[in-house]
């Protein structure tokens, strides 16, 4: 009989100590607690954000961030304390603080300035101080803050499926580390993500030295640095220097790395102050219809697999002396339907702009296209002018994912370390990664989620929750090589570890804390001088000036070219052997964003589909295969099959299917996607993706299943119906008639539209007197007639806010949409509600295709032009919403904002009906308080009939009307995210864009404090006191400009004087404060497709019914007055 040893004698009095964690873990209570499969007290483990815990975390993070703006990097020893006895220096309660940090991306970083309210980060902005940033970000970065507060994040350490303490996990890591060390790394493999972190580089070098026999692999499911791997140096492109740009399937505005920087460069080259200003020209060769293709002046539509043939043909024209290129071009016939003249003229244009052109190759393209781009840039003398390379040291790895998978499968690897990433989801299907991973004896998994990789080998995994970058210490380099810090804004919410921490522990390095590691790395960069001071400056500024390595040309050895060219497979897709393109999704990326509700509900910039992935197909191919939108089809490729809904995409290449990565994920008890991502999208494209065709593959078959699937789409109608909503012209038309944008419009000559009389030398005509004197007529009159006594009661003499959006610059990337969502606490509503047209975005981006009006729905055209228009509240001076609200809930303020008093709104929705722009959003349910499960019809749970945790919801509401029916963990975390300066709207009220009134007010308060007795309370752009609104700040293209119309020198006043300025639906006399600058296209008259786009296609549609805007015509010439330009000038002058 086994004798149970007596428990260790405990001291009679005083504090009790455990001798080890094991002793604690051995107590019967703990055992029982552990063994209940779903312990009733599961929350004891997984709910670390109880109020008490929150206070702890917050107080800890106060310490962290509370050292004033300068010393934020200095971290005191970790001690959890209670709220301040004495406030930290420089801290004012309620005033947000900003910390410089960076979001690490694949091989790069986005420099950031993060807003923190009471030490919880609430909003991400770009770091405008950074030499390579204007303070903008991309959409992914904007949304990344939601990931911090994701209740589905991994919150515990586990070993063999059991939750363990952090200490125990660290012990286990150390033990594994020493056994790896003892074996010199034999039978050990490391799988890492791409990273630009010098610290990681340093640690890896150290570890590789320590574990010489270990296998190291870097795996990215979407590899945006393919060029670097081929050529050893990543091209760093300055698009603002380029006059002619050729994109070879390079979606620099959407799915490539560094979009925030490239868009800015591109947009800079397209801004025109006057008609004669120079503009760049963009040629795009692509299969998918991408943001770049939409922006392009000339777009050549070929299947993705055929881009290389076009690239080779262009290259052969530009570098006829290069035999390798000409022979490749000879080997690859031009794809069907491609006009040789297109190639020739494009090449001529590039040649004519040698040194001021750039050829860009996209990440989806094979090495050959990258090599061609590099060769051509060199041949055209672009290197050093538009294209730069720099010697950023890269970690060399000795293996790759396929070979590690093979070794795992054959039992050659005992210890597998997966640092970040989710290979069980993203690895090529042929590797059968999940099975392979299960064969390792020990798996160390550092990840932010208990995802597919976590669930793949539960019995052998030691799982470590990975910190979000906003709770981590780290470093990174932006694409130009500048060193940027990754600073935590709060202590880790779930007490996780960073990649650096884990590497240091495994390598048994002396310095184990990531903060110390980063500092140590920094020493090498700091150079001579006071390291401490440089370090402080580094953290404060968010970058280390001058840390970019020196540049060089791309090394292009003959080997690289031969190897790249020889692997080109000239298979041509047909309708029976379709091409499949796996593309990085513009919402959920490669799946890393799929549990992010903002990203899921962010309308795909082109398809406008949300909460789903679709099978993109061209109009022609869909007709040949007899499939239509929503039909579920089965796609077979190399024995693998997936099923997904068809989506006919105008402008898509024929015989090609576009499959978005990162969807079709599930959540099981063992782990998985998370509750947001669960079952979003019918298919998981990774199931079809093999290591031979990571980006595209030819040979797929499509069969109809007969089923249909409802796809949620935020924009059902794609055509503008010939209406002058977005106005555009070609450059030469613009030069001939610079004021063409005002000369659109039709029916009501009294208001705006058509060339104003004063512009053609006739005396202006006054507006007819209104029946009802609007408070703003006073303000108007002041501008028009001298000496008129005006009512000033409602009118501020200091500020009159206005906005201008340049449609020439906007590429439709959507950063603004997410920035607005983040800034203004805009809730997500879920797929069911989007299908019912109830999405809540205050700012939407309308995407119009040009094509046969009204027939658009059924006969999508093959080569459309598309345009984007950010649409938000226009802040009409004559707001139609205001006059119909029966309770005065939407009114004008004295600074020209159309404001919503949420508290006063009873929700008649009349304002929305009367809004011609339909930019108002209504809370049909308590979107903030309902989880997505509770937003699925047709029966929406009423609090009268539902309960949560066994408590009747009505009773719960009675006790605490604040909490809603959301699960507690969602509620507790998501409320940390909210911007405290913006009301969280309840159900039944209308909401809409406020021009970020909270930012304006904050700036005004700041200015008032500063002004003191001097009374100078006006915000001035030249002093930098005029706030940037959220969308403006996030816009990489600087297309959105906000400012004071009373300041004649403000950028917005200047833009309103631009002759491209126009009001949307101006004839309604709404007098919007938000006006647009017409889009200018810059096509090349020598191109063969010029004939069809000599006039932009939307303009062709308009002219069909309304006549040409390039001449004064009809009643317009006789009667019109008060054109928007004149109107704007009045505003500007006074």
């Amino acid at each position: 009989m086994k004798t149970i040893p007596p428990p260790c004698p405990e001291p009679e009095s005083g504090q009790k100590y455990w001798r080890s964690m094991d002793q604690l873990a051995d107590t019967p209570e703990f055992r029982q607690w552990l063994e209940r499969e779903f312990p009733a007290g599961a929350s004891e483990f997984t709910d670390p954000v109880s109020r008490r815990h929150f206070v702890k975390i917050m107080s800890a993070s106060f310490l962290l961030g509370g050292l004033g703006t300068l010393g934020t990097g200095c971290r005191r020893p970790e001690e959890k304390i209670l709220p301040f006895g004495k406030a930290p220096e420089g801290y004012i309660h309620g005033v947000p603080q900003f910390f410089a940090t960076a979001m690490p991306t694949r091989g790069g970083a986005v420099p950031l300035l993060v807003k923190s309210h009471e030490n919880r980060p609430t909003k991400i902005e770009g770091n405008p101080e950074h030499p390579d940033s204007n303070g903008s970000t991309d959409a992914f970065t904007q949304a990344s803050i939601l990931g911090l507060y994701d209740p589905d994040r991994a919150q515990r350490y586990t070993q063999a499926g059991h939750t363990i303490s952090k200490e125990k996990a660290l012990d286990a890591l150390t033990a594994i580390g020493s056994s790896i060390n003892a074996a010199k790394g034999a039978r050990t493999a490391f799988v890492l993500e791409e990273s630009s972190s010098p610290s990681r580089h340093r640690l890896l070098t150290a570890l590789q030295f320590k574990f010489p026999q270990a296998k190291w692999a870097v795996y990215e499911p979407v590899d945006l640095n393919v060029n670097r791997r081929i050529t050893g140096g990543a091209p760093y492109i300055k698009l603002d220097q380029a006059s002619v740009i050729l994109s070879l399937d390079c979606d620099f505005a959407g799915s490539e790395a560094d979009t925030y920087r490239l868009i800015r460069g591109y947009a800079k080259g397209r801004k025109t102050e006057k008609a004669t200003d120079k503009m760049n020209r963009l040629y795009s060769v692509e299969g998918l219809f991408t943001l770049t293709g939409i922006s392009a002046d000339h777009r050549l539509r070929v299947p993705t697999s055929q881009v290389v043939a076009v690239a080779a043909a262009i290259a052969a024209k530009l570098a006829p002396q290069n035999m390798q290129i000409t022979s490749l071009a000879a080997r690859l016939p031009l794809p069907a339907g491609v006009d040789a003249k297109w190639i020739e003229e494009c090449a001529n244009d590039l040649k004519a702009n040698a040194g001021a052109s750039v050829i860009m190759a996209g990440h989806r393209q094979p090495a050959a296209v990258h090599v061609i781009a590099n060769l051509l840039n060199a041949a055209l003398g672009n290197n050093g002018k538009t294209v730069f390379f720099s010697e950023i040291p890269q970690t060399t790895v000795n293996s790759d994912l396929p070979s590690i998978a093979r070794d795992l499968a054959s039992g050659l690897i005992d210890t597998l370390v997966i640092l970040g990433g989710n290979p069980a989801l993203t690895a090529p299907a042929d590797l059968k990664w999940a099975d392979a991973q299960a064969k390792a004896k020990t798996v160390i998994r550092v990840g932010q989620y208990e995802d597919e990789t976590f669930a793949a080998s539960p019995a052998t995994t030691l799982s470590v929750p990975q910190n979000h970058y906003l709770e981590s210490w780290g470093d990174a380099r932006t694409s130009d090589g500048t060193l940027v810090p990754v600073q935590p804004l709060l202590a880790p919410l779930f007490d996780g570890l960073t990649e650096l921490d884990v590497l240091a522990v495994l390598g048994e390095l002396e310095v184990k804390k990531s903060y110390d590691i980063v500092r140590e790395t920094f020493r090498a960069f700091a150079g001579a001088g006071n390291v401490e001071e440089t370090w402080k400056t580094f953290l404060h500024d968010g970058f280390l000036a001058g840390s970019a390595p020196k540049g060089n040309d791309a090394p292009l050895g003959g080997d690289v070219v031969v190897k790249a060219f020889s692997t080109i497979n000239p298979a041509v897709p047909t309708k029976d052997s379709l091409e499949v393109v796996f593309h990085r999704d513009l919402k959920v990326d490669d799946g890393r964003g799929s549990n992010n509700g903002w990203l899921q509900e962010f309308p795909d910039p082109i398809t406008k589909v949300v909460w789903d992935n679709v099978v993109l197909i061209s109009r022609k191919t869909s007709e040949e295969l007899v499939v239509k939108n929503g039909d579920v089809v089965e796609i077979e490729l190399g024995g693998n099959k997936i099923r997904g809904p068809i989506w006919v995409q105008p402008g898509f290449a024929d015989n090609s299917l576009g499959l978005a990565l990162g969807y079709g994920r599930q959540t099981t008890k063992a782990g998985g996607a998370g509750r947001i991502a669960h079952n979003v999208g019918l298919y998981n494209a990774y199931a079809l993706r093999t290591s031979t065709g990571l980006n595209f593959a030819v040979g797929a078959k499509l069969t109809k299943t007969g089923e249909t699937h409802v796809v949620a789409c935020t924009q059902e109608h794609g055509s503008m119906e010939g209406r002058p909503i977005v106005r555009e012209a070609n450059k030469d038309q613009y030069e001939k008639a610079p004021t063409f944008a005002k000369n659109f419009d039709l029916e009501s000559p009294n208001h705006t539209g058509h060339i104003a009389k004063e512009m053609v030398g006739l005396p202006p005509v006054e507006r007819p007197a209104g029946i009802y004197e609007h408070p703003y007529t006073g303000y108007e009159k002041r501008g028009g007639q001298a000496g008129v006594t005006v009512k000033t009661i409602l009118v501020s003499q200091q500020h009159q806010w206005g906005m201008s959006i340049d449609l020439s610059s906007c590429v439709g990337c959507g950063s603004c949409v997410l920035a607005c969502q983040s800034e203004n606490n805009v809730p997500i509503v879920g797929k069911d509600q989007v299908i019912r047209n109830r999405e809540m975005h205050w700012l939407r981006i309308d995407r119009y295709y040009s094509g046969a009006a009204m027939k658009m729905a059924s006969h999508l055209i093959d080569d459309p032009q598309a345009i984007f228009q950010p649409m938000l509240c226009q802040h009409c001076e004559n707001a139609p919403c205001e006059s119909v609200c029966p309770v005065n809930a939407t009114v004008h303020d004295e600074e020209g904002l159309n404001v919503m008093a949420y508290n006063r709104c009873v929700g008649t929705r009349y304002c929305s009906n009367n809004c011609p722009y339909k930019v108002r959003r209504f809370n049909f349910f308590d979107y903030n308080k309902r989880s997505l499960d509770q937003l699925k019809g047709p029966y929406y749970g009423s609090p009268l009939t539902t309960s949560k945790d066994g408590e009747w919801n009505l009773l719960r509401w009675w006790k605490n009307p604040d909490a809603g029916t959301r699960p507690d963990d969602e509620w507790d975390l998501l409320k940390l995210l909210k911007n405290p300066d913006v009301s969280v709207r309840m159900r039944g009220v209308m909401e809409k864009c406020t021009f970020c009134v909270q930012r304006i007010e904050q700036a005004k308060i700041g200015q008032k404090v500063k002004a003191g007795m001097s009374g100078d309370v006006q915000l001035k752009e030249k002093d930098g006191t005029v706030p940037k609104v959220a969308c403006q700040q996030a816009c990489p293209a600087e297309a959105i400009v906000f400012g004071n119309l009373l300041d004649p020198n403000s950028r917005v006043s200047q833009l309103k004087k631009n002759d491209r300025d126009y009001d949307v639906l101006g004839f309604l006399d709404t007098r919007p404060r938000l006006t647009y600058l017409a889009r200018i296209r810059n096509p090349n008259p020598k191109m063969p497709d010029y004939a069809s786009i000599e006039t932009p296609k939307t303009l062709q549609e308009y002219m069909k019914t309304q006549g040409s805007p390039f001449e004064t015509h009809g009643h317009a010439g006789n009667e019109s007055h008060g054109a928007p330009a004149a109107h704007a000038e009045k505003k500007g002058a006074h």
């Binding site: 924009q715 059902e716 109608h717 794609g718 119906e721 209406r723 909503i725 039709l746 029916e747 009501s748 009802y772 509600q833 019912r836 047209n837 109830r838 939407r844 309308d846 995407r847 119009y848 009204m854 729905a857 059924s858 228009q869 649409m871 139609p880 006059s883 119909v884 029966p886 309770v887 005065n888 709104c905 009873v906 929700g907 008649t908 929705r909 009349y910 929305s912 009906n913 009367n914 011609p916 339909k918 108002r920 209504f922 809370n923 049909f924 349910f925 308590d926 047709p938 929406y940 749970g941 009423s942 609090p943 009268l944 309840m986 159900r987 039944g988 009220v989 639906l1065 309604l1068 019914t1105």
Partner: protein
Amino acid sequence: MADSFSKELPVIPSVPKELEREPLVLNKRPIGWISDQISGVAEGKTPKWWWALFIPSVAITGVCFAMIVYLMSTGVGVWGLQIPVAWAWDITNFVFWIGIGHAGTLISAILFLLRQKWRTSINRAAEAMTIFAVMCAGIFPLIHIGRIWLGWWLLPLPNSNSIWPQFRSPLLWDVFAVSTYFTVSLLFWYMGLIPDLAVMRDRAKSKIRQIAYGIFSLGWTGSNRHWSNYEKAYLLLAGLSTPLVLSVHSIVSFDFAVSQLPGWHTTIFPPYFVAGAVFSGFGMVLTLMLPMRKVCHLEEIITVRHIELMGKVILATGSIVGYAYGMEFFIAWYSGNPYEKFVFMQNRAADPFILGPLWGVEPAPYWWAYWTMVSCNVICPQLFWFKKVRTNMWIVFVISIFVNIGMWFERFVIIVTSLHRDYMPSNWAYYSPTWVDIWQFVGTFGLFMTLFLLFMRFLPTIAIGEVKGVTPQADPHHPMGGAKGGHH
């Protein structure tokens, strides 16, 4: 002398048979019979048909309130509303019921002022219908708002914050117009009831009935003074109600006309809405009266002539409505406003068979709604040109149902088709109702029927005193005149 005198008397030629007006009460029934017949409905044993109608009606009323509770507790999202279609069945139903509420006051006020004696047989029931319809109508604006519990903010109540409603908003005008209309209609109806309530009181056998009718008949004795005051007050109220008939629906139409939405922003709306309201009101009166006269055996009081006359009103107003539809098209074309033209042609009329292909446009998403409306409202009533149709009670009943359907669709077409595709094509969307929308609407029929059945059961459905007044027998010199025919 006597002879010569009598010779001098002019001979009054008797009216030829074919020109003789049909009497308003048939079969020369004595006055007492009228009292018996009308009061009998409310006095006898509760008939089986009444229970058969009443029980389901109450059940459906229950559904109505269940839907309201669900809506209030959950959110307006339980309806199919969305952006851009932020009003749909809710306001459609509101306007529909308000429109029905027009016939009663028109019959009781305008026809009274115009000395149309035939109104007496139908005015009581029509007024009751008006009141119940306005009650049903009133539900919708109240519950359609997002925060129902704050609906009272639309009332101009003095408060410490000095926040007033916004008097420029047509929704506020609605509040005043509808509440005024309801109040005046109720007063008018009640006042007309007083003499008849006294009849009921006098005839009542049970104590409870005596007390109840006694209280509500306000001590009516039928004295000359009472009658004289009554007539004066009735005339005054009729005068007061007459402008209301025109104002209510004009103001309801302002909800649309004052906006700037193509399809709503139309100056023809006020008269067009009033005509439509009268049209739909008479449609509903017929729908109710035809079965009522049958089951309550009132064919001799609500005669075929009454039905025919109502058919003529429907024909006239239906034609006005048809004219308005045509005029909307003309103006849309004549104004040259492409947005207007789009609404009428491409949002409404373009069907997939004739007009769509003819104009070369895609069929309008709601073409079926538009053409349902036109068929029911414009084409159907044209059958009333034929006397055979007007006098065939079955056909009249069917047409009256069509009129009801058509007028519901008219409001649906105006509201939904205009909203679902307006200025910015980017936010166009298709609207579909949810089960809550449908049951909410059905539920109001339950409420309406419940109230109407209660009215039939407990109150005289026809103005006894007034009907008697228009019979020849009411003339004391008539052979059957005075009280000779029996007690009353």
